[in-house]
C-alpha cells in the first residue's frame, strides 16, 4: 500500500473510531442531549427496564414508553400520558422530567418491585413523585407493570357558591397597578425571629392583615451588623401567601444564604401592603391534618376544593409551633396535580428531622392559582 493511501486509511479509520467511541461511550454533554440515552441498553434486569422507561418518559417518547409496559392492554396510551402528566392542567402538565432514581425493593426470578422516584422540573421548582412499580419478566426481558392512578370522575352536580368578593376600581386602564390614592391595608408582623441553619440565616415570622379589606402583602428583611452596615436584604418570595383576606394570617420565611447569625446585630423588617381586588373563592378545606413524628417526620393532610371550579395549582404553607406556641419553622409544598371540585388530594410536607421533635402543633394555609386567573 502506498504511503498516501495508508495515511488516508489511518485518518478515516481514526475518524470512524472516534465516532464509535463517542457513540458507545458518549461524553456527558452528548448523553444529556440524548435524554440520558445510551446505545446497547436492554431491559435485561428489572432496574434496566425501569431505567429505560424513565429515559423514555424524560424524552417524552410516549409511544415507546407505553409499548414497553407489561399491563398496557389495560389502558390506552392517552390514558398513560394523562396519568403521568395530569388529567387536568397543572404544574405537572407543564413540567419536564429532570432526572429519576431507581431503588430495588424486592426481586425474584419472575418479578420485582422497585421504587421509582421521578423529579419533575416545574416553573416553581423541582417536584418529586415517588411510585413503587412492579416489574415482571417476559421471556428474556423485563417489563414495568405501570401503577395507573384512576382518573377521577365527578358526578353531575350543582355546587352553590357563596363567597365574599372585593373589587377595586382604579382611575383608568392606564393606571399603574399599585399607584392608588388610598392607604394600603393595615398589616402587622405578629411574630418574627431569626434562626441559624446550615445554609445560612433564616428569618421566620407571621403577618396579620388587621384591616377589613383584602391586601397584597410582602415582607422584606435587612440584616445589620453592629456598626449598622447591612449584611443583606432579602424578601419572602414564595414562602408567604401574598394575598391576605381580612383578618387572615400568613407565615413567612426569608432566607439569607451564607450569612451567619453571630454577625447579626439587628434586623429591620419592612412589611408592605396594598389594596387589591380579591375573592374568598375558591375555598380549600384542609382535612386530616396530621403531624407525623420522626423518622420521616412530615405534615400530612388532604386538600378538598369546595368550589365548583378546577384549581390548577395549590401551594400549602405550614406553620409549625412548639408547646409554648412559639414559631419553630415554616414548611411549604406545591401540589403538582389540579384540585377538582370535592376531590381530595393528599399532601405530605417533610419536616427537618432536627426540628421535628420540637413541633407540637401547626397551622396550615393554602394559596391557589388557576390558569387565566389571578391570585
Amino acid at each position: 500500500m502506498k504511503r498516501g493511501a495508508l495515511l488516508a486509511f489511518v485518518l478515516i479509520a481514526a475518524t470512524v473510531a472516534f465516532i464509535v467511541i463517542g457513540t458507545v461511550w458518549p461524553i456527558s454533554t452528548a448523553v444529556a442531549f440524548a435524554g440520558g440515552e445510551r446505545l446497547l441498553e436492554s431491559s435485561s434486569t428489572p432496574e434496566a427496564a425501569a431505567r429505560n422507561l424513565g429515559q423514555e418518559i424524560r424524552l417524552k417518547d410516549w409511544g415507546k414508553a407505553y409499548s414497553s409496559l407489561a399491563n398496557r392492554s389495560k389502558f390506552t396510551e392517552q390514558e398513560f400520558v394523562e396519568d403521568v402528566t395530569g388529567y387536568y392542567p397543572s404544574l405537572r402538565t407543564y413540567s419536564s422530567l429532570d432526572h429519576f432514581e431507581i431503588r430495588p425493593l424486592h426481586a425474584s426470578d419472575s418479578d420485582a418491585d422497585v421504587e421509582f422516584t421521578l423529579d419533575w422540573s416545574t416553573v416553581v421548582g423541582t417536584l418529586p413523585d415517588t411510585r413503587t412499580v412492579h416489574v415482571v419478566r417476559n421471556g428474556d426481558h423485563w417489563e414495568v407493570d405501570w401503577p395507573m392512578q384512576k382518573k377521577p370522575v365527578l358526578p353531575p352536580q350543582v355546587i352553590p357558591v357563596e363567597y365574599l368578593r372585593w373589587d377595586v376600581i382604579n382611575r383608568g386602564p392606564g393606571d399603574d397597578w399599585g399607584v392608588q390614592d388610598v392607604d394600603g391595608p393595615n398589616v402587622r408582623i405578629v411574630d418574627m425571629h431569626p434562626v441559624q441553619r446550615a445554609e445560612g440565616v433564616v428569618v421566620l415570622g407571621e403577618l396579620l392583615n388587621e384591616d377589613v379589606l383584602p391586601a397584597y402583602v410582602s415582607v422584606t428583611a435587612t440584616l445589620h451588623r453592629k456598626d449598622q452596615s447591612a449584611i443583606g436584604t432579602e424578601s419572602a418570595f414564595d414562602r408567604i401567601s401574598h394575598l391576605l383576606l381580612p383578618k387572615q394570617v400568613t407565615p413567612f420565611l426569608i432566607q439569607f444564604p451564607n450569612a451567619s447569625l453571630s454577625e447579626v446585630s439587628s434586623i429591620r423588617m419592612e412589611p408592605f401592603s396594598t389594596l387589591v381586588s380579591a375573592s374568598a373563592d375558591p375555598v380549600i378545606e384542609i382535612d386530616n391534618e396530621q403531624l407525623n413524628p420522626a423518622p420521616d417526620a412530615a405534615l400530612t393532610g388532604q386538600l378538598i376544593n369546595q368550589s365548583g371550579q378546577v384549581v390548577n395549582v395549590a401551594h400549602v404553607l405550614g406553620t409549625l409551633y412548639d408547646k409554648s406556641g412559639n414559631l419553630v419553622w415554616v414548611v411549604d409544598q406545591y401540589v403538582d396535580r389540579a384540585l377538582l371540585p370535592q376531590t381530595p388530594v393528599s399532601f405530605k410536607i417533610p419536616i427537618p428531622e432536627d426540628l421535628a421533635k420540637k413541633v407540637s402543633s401547626q397551622r396550615t394555609v393554602v394559596a391557589t392559582y388557576s390558569f387565566g386567573g389571578f391570585l
Binding site: 502506498k2 498516501g4 493511501a5 495508508l6 495515511l7 488516508a8 485518518l11 478515516i12 475518524t15 472516534f18 465516532i19 467511541i21 463517542g22 457513540t23 461511550w25 458518549p26 461524553i27 454533554t29 452528548a30 448523553v31 444529556a32 442531549f33 440524548a34 440515552e37 407543564y94 419536564s96 429532570d98 422540573s121 416545574t122 416553573v123 416553581v124 421548582g125 423541582t126 386602564p173 392606564g174 399603574d176 397597578w177 399599585g178 397584597y216 410582602s218 422584606t220 436584604t233 432579602e234 424578601s235 418570595f237 414564595d238 408567604i240 401574598h242 408592605f272 396594598t274 387589591v276 390548577n312 395549582v313 401551594h315 394559596a367 392559582y369 390558569f371 387565566g372 389571578f374 391570585l375
Partner: protein
C-alpha cells in the same frame, strides 16, 4: 511553467470578478429581503451596533444585564454596521456588512486555494464558497456576523503570511499583519483557533516549499514565523486591550450553558441534521476524495490535517475529540463554527475535485455540480424557515412604546417567551433589562451561577434556566425590576406565587405585563466593572482604525508581479502553482 492560456473555457480559470458576481446574484436578494433578521443572533449584533452608534467611545451598555461591558466582544463588525447605519439604517447596514463578508470570502477562498492548487481549481473553490452550506447556515440561521466576517479576512491574510515566510517579502509582512489584526478585532476566537487550523498548515507549507525555487533556510522561515507571530500577538494585545483587561479582571465564570452543537449527532439525529447535514450538504460526497487526495499529495497534507482536526471538532459531541482538545472551552464554545472552518479548509480540495470532474465529464459534470451546489445552498438558506429560530412573527414595538412612556423606564424589566427579539426590544427602548443574549457579558450572580441562557427562554434550559429565573425574581427589589412582559403563560404560576400581578395587556392580550409593587426605581449596578474613559477611547479608535489602515495599505501599496506570484495572487492557466503543489 506553462504560460499559455487554454482555449477551452471549461479548462480556464473563472475570473474572480465573475465569482463575485455569482455571489452577488445568490446573496444580494436574500439580504435585501433581510432574511438574516430571522436568525438567532442578528438582532443581537444590531443591538451592539446601535450602542456604538450612540456611544462610540463608551462600551458600557446599560440596556442589558443591568449594565455590561461590550468590551467583552471584539467590536469591529458592530462598529462598521454603526458607521454606515446613517446611510442605510441599522438593518440594511447589517446586510451590507454581511454582503461585504460574503464577497471577501470569495476572494479569500480564491487566494487561499492558490497556495495549494492551480488557478483553475482555486477559482472553482471560490465559486463553491458562494454555495457552501455552512456559510449560508451561519449567515441566515445562526446570524454569526463576526465569525463569517473574521474568517474571510483571515483567509485573505494567509497568502501574505506565506509570502512573508517563504520569501521574506516586507510588503506581505505588513499587509498580512494588518489583516490578522483586523480579523482579531472582528472575532478573537477565529484568530485563536485559526492560528492552529489555518495558519499552521500554511507554516508547514512554507517549510515544505523552502527548497523549491528561491531557497530559504529553515531557520529563516522559523524566524519569520516568530517575528510575525510576535508582532501580531503584541498588536492584538494592544488593539483589544480593554477586552483582555475585562477578561482578566472578570474571567468568564458562567456555568456552562447547553448547546445542541455539542450533542452526539448519531444519538440525537435531529441535531445531526442541523449541525452536520445542513452545513455540509453535498460536501459530504467529497469527503472520501479529500482524505485520499490530501494524503497522496505531500504538500496538501498540512491542509488535510488542518481540515481533519476542524472536521472532528465540528462533529461536536459525536466524538470525544472536542472535549479532549478544548477542555472547558468545549462547554463554552458552540461547535458549528468548526464545521464552518472545516468546510473552508475543504474548499481547495473541492476545487481540485471539481476541476477533475469537469475535465473528464465536461458539461455533465458542470450541471451535476451546479445542482448539488444549489441544493446545498438552498437547504441551508431554507433552514431558517424549516427550523426557524423564532417561529413567531410579531412586533415588539408596542412593548418598547409602553416602556418609553409615563416613566416606566425608571424601572428595569425582562421578558418571558420573546425568543431572539429581546435584543431588538433593548435597542428600541430606553429602559434597562436584567436579561440579554451575550452570555459572556453577564455579571449578575443570579444569572451566572446557573446553566440557563437568556431568561426569556428559561424553560428551555430545564432546572438551570428556571433556577436563574427564580433567583432574579427573588432580587427584584435589588435591581429595580418592576416589569415582566409575558408571551408564554407557562411562567404565570411562578410570577403569581412570587407576588407579581398582571397590570396591563398589549397586542390583543397576547402580551401580559406583570408588575411587582413596592420596587424602588432602578439604580446603576456593576459600576466597578465599567471600563474607564481611556479604555473607551482605545476601543473606539484602535479596532476600527486597524481596519481603515488595512484597507488603505491594501489599496495604496500595490503588489508587484513577482509578489503577486509569491502571495499566491498570480493566475496561471492550468498548472502554475499546481505544478508546485501537486508535484509530489
Amino acid at each position: 511553467m506553462d504560460n499559455t492560456e487554454p482555449i477551452d473555457p471549461l479548462q480556464r480559470p473563472i475570473p474572480v470578478i465573475l465569482c463575485l458576481m455569482v455571489a452577488a446574484v445568490v446573496h444580494v436578494p436574500l439580504l435585501l429581503m433581510k432574511l438574516p433578521l430571522k436568525s438567532f443572533d442578528t438582532n443581537f449584533h444590531i443591538f451592539f451596533a446601535s450602542h456604538y452608534f450612540h456611544h462610540w467611545f463608551d462600551p458600557w451598555n446599560t440596556k442589558c444585564f443591568a449594565g455590561f461591558s461590550q468590551a467583552t466582544y471584539p467590536p469591529l463588525s458592530h462598529q462598521w454596521v454603526a458607521a454606515i447605519s446613517p446611510i442605510f439604517g441599522f438593518d440594511y447596514a447589517y446586510m451590507v456588512v454581511q454582503l461585504a463578508s460574503i464577497l471577501l470570502l470569495v476572494v479569500g477562498v480564491y487566494r487561499f486555494s492558490l497556495l495549494w492548487t492551480n488557478a483553475r481549481a482555486a477559482s472553482l473553490a471560490a465559486v463553491a464558497s458562494v454555495f457552501v452550506g455552512a456559510e449560508s447556515f451561519l449567515v441566515y440561521h445562526a446570524g454569526q456576523l463576526a465569525t463569517t466576517s473574521a474568517a474571510p479576512i483571515y483567509l485573505n491574510a494567509l497568502p501574505f503570511l506565506y509570502a512573508w515566510l517563504r520569501y521574506g517579502n516586507g510588503r506581505a509582512f505588513v499587509k498580512g499583519s494588518l489583516l490578522f489584526i483586523t480579523a482579531a478585532a472582528v472575532h478573537h476566537a477565529t484568530l485563536i483557533f485559526g492560528s492552529v487550523l489555518f495558519a499552521a498548515p500554511v507554516l508547514a507549507l512554507a517549510f515544505l516549499d523552502r527548497t523549491d525555487g528561491r531557497r530559504a533556510a529553515t531557520g529563516k522561515v522559523l524566524a519569520r514565523a516568530v517575528a510575525i507571530g510576535l508582532l501580531v500577538g503584541v498588536a492584538v494585545a494592544i488593539v483589544l486591550l480593554p477586552y483582555w483587561i475585562a477578561l482578566i479582571h472578570y474571567p468568564i465564570t458562567q456555568t456552562p450553558i447547553p448547546h445542541e452543537s455539542r450533542a452526539n449527532y448519531i444519538l440525537s439525529p435531529e441535531y445531526g441534521l442541523t449541525y452536520f447535514i445542513v452545513p455540509w450538504g453535498a460536501l459530504i460526497l467529497a469527503l472520501p476524495f479529500i482524505f485520499l487526495h490530501g494524503s497522496e499529495n505531500v504538500k496538501l497534507r498540512p491542509l488535510l490535517f488542518g481540515f481533519w482536526v476542524a472536521f472532528l471538532l465540528g462533529l461536536g459531541g459525536t466524538t470525544p475529540v472536542g472535549s479532549i482538545l478544548l477542555g472547558r472551552a468545549f462547554k463554552v464554545l458552540t461547535m458549528e463554527r468548526f464545521s464552518y472552518w472545516a468546510t473552508l479548509l475543504a474548499l481547495p480540495f473541492v476545487g481540485i475535485l471539481a476541476a477533475k470532474l469537469i475535465r473528464r465529464f465536461r458539461l455533465a459534470a458542470v450541471a451535476g455540480l451546479m445542482v448539488l451546489a444549489t441544493l446545498t445552498c438552498a437547504l441551508a438558506v431554507a433552514w431558517s424557515s424549516i427550523e426557524p429560530p423564532d417561529p413567531d412573527n410579531y412586533s415588539v414595538d408596542p412593548v418598547a412604546s409602553w416602556l418609553n412612556r409615563d416613566g416606566h423606564d425608571q424601572y428595569r424589566y425582562f421578558t418571558l417567551g420573546f425568543g431572539n427579539k429581546i435584543s431588538r426590544l433593548a435597542m428600541m427602548t430606553d429602559a434597562s433589562s436584567v436579561d440579554g443574549e451575550w452570555n459572556s457579558g453577564r455579571l449578575l450572580p443570579e444569572l451566572m451561577q446557573y446553566s440557563g441562557a437568556a431568561l426569556t427562554s428559561s424553560k428551555y434550559f430545564g432546572t438551570g434556566g428556571l433556577d436563574a429565573l427564580r433567583a432574579i425574581l427573588k432580587h427584584a427589589d435589588r435591581y429595580g425590576l418592576k416589569w415582566v412582559f409575558v408571551r408564554d403563560h407557562y411562567y404565570d404560576a411562578l410570577l403569581s406565587y412570587a407576588g407579581w400581578r398582571p397590570v396591563d395587556y398589549l397586542e390583543d392580550k397576547t402580551i401580559v405585563i406583570w408588575s411587582k409593587d413596592g420596587v424602588p426605581p432602578a439604580q446603576p449596578v456593576n459600576a466597578p466593572q465599567r471600563p474607564p474613559h481611556w479604555q473607551g477611547l482605545m476601543w473606539g479608535t484602535l479596532p476600527f482604525g486597524s481596519s481603515i489602515l488595512a484597507i488603505l495599505v491594501l489599496l495604496l501599496i500595490p503588489e508587484r508581479r513577482r509578489q503577486h506570484a509569491e502571495a499566491g495572487l498570480h493566475v496561471t492557466p492550468d498548472q502554475g502553482v499546481a505544478a508546485r503543489s501537486l508535484a509530489s
